[in-house]
């Protein structure tokens, strides 16, 4: 094994010029933070205002969209995926796809076959002493 194989020669950490070019500036970071802050505030407001003006069905979709925007901003800019290799993104994307799939499938399964609360009326099986 020679140095070419494992040396840091190609690692991102040594490419000053590249990084300075590819990474956002301090101003960008602060702008992103301002956006994150505003969206979070909007989330809090939406969660409290929307139900009170009779738009309950809009709460979940609007909050999810805002959360996705926040998450995307953090991943793309703070975690630098916008300028980094897509290989870094792959495990994260796969993890998020699996996580979403798991959550939605299980919610669906419990909607198809909802659970009945275990009350003493259901029989002795429900009153096992802890």
């Amino acid at each position: 094994m020679t140095a070419t194989h494992t040396s840091p020669g190609h690692q991102s950490g040594t490419h000053d010029a590249h990084d300075a070019h590819a990474h956002p500036t301090t101003a960008t970071y602060i702008q992103i933070f301002v956006v994150l802050f505003i969206v979070t505030a909007a989330e809090v407001v939406a969660a409290q205002i929307l139900p009170s003006i009779g738009m309950t069905s809009l709460v979940a979709p609007s909050l999810l969209i805002m959360a996705l925007v926040k998450g995307a901003l953090i991943i793309l800019y703070y975690m630098h995926l916008k300028s980094d290799s897509g290989v870094y993104a792959a495990p994260m994307v796969f993890g998020l796809v699996l996580a979403t799939g798991m959550l939605l499938t299980m919610i669906g399964l419990w909607i198809i076959a909802p659970r009945v609360p275990c009350t003493p009326e259901l029989g002795k099986a429900c009153v096992v002493e802890k």
Partner: protein, 204 residues
């Protein structure tokens, strides 16, 4: 062999052909793979909460009446701010501004500690209202999930402080900032999880 003469003719391939991943940093790749795996840890906990959600909301105390959204919004704000300080720290090291980088690291760790303190206050308030691990579905699902996230924050704070100590020996600079970068990746991921928990558990 006659074939080998043909093969010799095509020896004119590049001396050092690529394998396809030369530009990747090994430790950074490892961190991303770990974070991908970590997604499923949190997914399992959030799933546990959501399959119990109909029953949680059919009883009292339930999240909408117990969880203080404004207080948690402050916690979310603290974590977002710590992400900003983290990324500023990395940027400072990349510019060889080591003192500034260390200060931002310390600020990030401090904000993380504030978050943990906030969580401790929240948990004790919940306990006063009767929401504990053994009080029922809401208590157990909520406390284990946010507790698991809090453990991540705790590990992150220790890691950031270790980076701060290392940086004191001049180990991090514009040539070598990967240690700060991967601790940053971890820290941003913890923030990311809070974005999900804040929306899915507290607000919806």
């Amino acid at each position: 062999m006659t074939v080998s003469t043909i093969e010799h003719a095509s020896h004119a391939v590049p001396a050092n052909p690529p394998s396809g991943m030369e530009s990747l940093d090994m430790r950074k790749l490892g961190m991303w793979v770990f974070l991908g795996s970590d997604c499923v840890f949190f997914a399992s906990l959030i799933t546990t909460y959501f399959v119990n959600r109909p029953l949680i909301f059919s009883g009292e105390p339930n999240p909408h009446h117990t969880l203080g959204i404004n207080f948690t919004a402050v916690l979310a704000f603290i974590l977002l701010l710590s992400s900003l300080t983290m990324v500023l720290s990395l940027a400072a090291f990349q510019r060889d501004n080591i003192q500034s980088g260390r200060n931002w690291l310390l600020a990030t760790a401090a904000l993380g500690t504030c978050f943990l303190a906030g969580q401790a206050i929240e948990f004790s308030n919940l306990a006063h209202e009767g929401v504990t691990l053994s009080s029922g579905l809401f208590g157990q699902c909520f406390l284990i999930m946010t507790g698991f996230h809090g453990t991540h924050v705790f590990i992150g704070v220790i890691w950031l402080l270790a980076c701060w100590l290392f940086a004191g020996t001049g180990r991090f600079n514009s040539k070598n900032f990967i240690g700060v970068e991967i601790s940053g990746l971890y820290w941003h991921f913890v923030d990311l999880v809070w974005v999900a928990i804040f929306t899915l558990i507290y607000l919806i």
